[in-house]
Symmetry: C2
Subunit: 238 residues, 2 copies
Amino acid sequence: MKRRAICTDPSWAGRADCVHCAIRNRVLFATLTVDELNDALLEIDDLVYRSGAVIYRHGEAGSALFTIRRGMVKLMGELPDGNQRIVRLLKIGDVVGLEVAIGSPYKHTAITIGETELCRIPAPVIERLDISHPKLARQLMVRWQNSLDNADRALVEFSTGTAEVRVARLLLHLSSLSKDGTCVDIGRQDMGSMLGITIETASRVMADFRRRGAVGETGRGETCHCNVDLLKRIASPD
Amino acid sequence: MKRRAICTDPSWAGRADCVHCAIRNRVLFATLTVDELNDALLEIDDLVYRSGAVIYRHGEAGSALFTIRRGMVKLMGELPDGNQRIVRLLKIGDVVGLEVAIGSPYKHTAITIGETELCRIPAPVIERLDISHPKLARQLMVRWQNSLDNADRALVEFSTGTAEVRVARLLLHLSSLSKDGTCVDIGRQDMGSMLGITIETASRVMADFRRRGAVGETGRGETCHCNVDLLKRIASPD
DNA sequence: CGTAAATTTGAATGGATTCAAACGTGGTGG
DNA sequence: CCACCACGTTTGAATCCATTCAAATTTACG
């Protein structure tokens, strides 16, 4: 189930437009002017999904793409034999479901990690803006390249080396998303699915990291503190 | 070293334009008209690289992108600690170095597999066409999505499961590029680098496949014949 | 408070790596 | 033409890392 909300950001709660959005300079419409935006505003919803909610499923005809305002989204790739793997983790400012911009059905199943707030942008809005505002096309291309960089990173960093090295690299990646060393604890299941290892191995490595002081508790159960220097040394042994 | 050639395709040898190109409907300029193409023709070179040649290196400022007319290209991703991994294999009709279209430096090191013929398209040509012909922008987006699909596939199919399963899936992928069951033999080194396994393991699996009749010789040393049905059964065990 | 789900830990197994050596092939120079 | 070297491939044996299966423990939540 998903809950409808007209913007839950405290700084501009109650407004239904992107103009005053706190993360506007980081999202798809960064290059559009206020006037240009007004066309699209009426059709853009701000939605809050609970943790573990399915945004869309692999193969569905894509009717909209999304921008992440808060939280995180995992894209799941599925094998013919059933078991699946996390292909990418998307964070604040990232676009979910970019493929609908070229009329393609969704290529993954998108699931939220933690309570997540999304702006839902219907495909026709993109089409319309695309024709009238060539700058948006460039923004879309930048997004595609960004996704591609992430995908390549998942291959090179998160699918190569020992389990220990992979976990270290993932923790470094997650902690780089926030200023301080804190990073969201994404659960052993997701960790394993992202790194191509089992949940038991992920758990063992994390337990070992805790013993060695590479990670520590932050107090809140959802986050953990990372010893960046030590993790870096583990991630690329000289 | 690379050798300059004004189109080596026998069917239109000697011509210096794309209009009569045998694979034009599969490449970037498929949607452009003859008139629209004429602007760009003078600056587009047709180049033949020998096997194992470096087209460009990771981090270089991208001055051009390329279309593959013949042969194959591997994109190498590099880890900070030196060792590298094949991120993607590009085939006929694919674009190499798409990132220069948004002004980015090259994200990989691109190396040819077998003698390979490329059309070199300078970045300014893309920029110019992009402004005057909005259809090209869409073609570029389609290419990006294509690369993304390949990247995701590398993760889900080629980096998950046992070595046996991965090799089977790679052979199926390679054989799907040609009509019959033949597929280019990409060498154990590349095979391992693509699947995240060692050359010894790749060699052992291939030897086993030969014994079981999953692959056979074609006579020429560069290609091998695949038993698609058997490989499919190995690739996804029920 | 009690049940379901996620995490942790242990012990045995298995698959891939590592290190080593043998093999085949293509090219170079005597 | 053949010896010789370089290079990629193949095969073997020992080791190591991750998985599997199982059980215990903790956490989340109605």
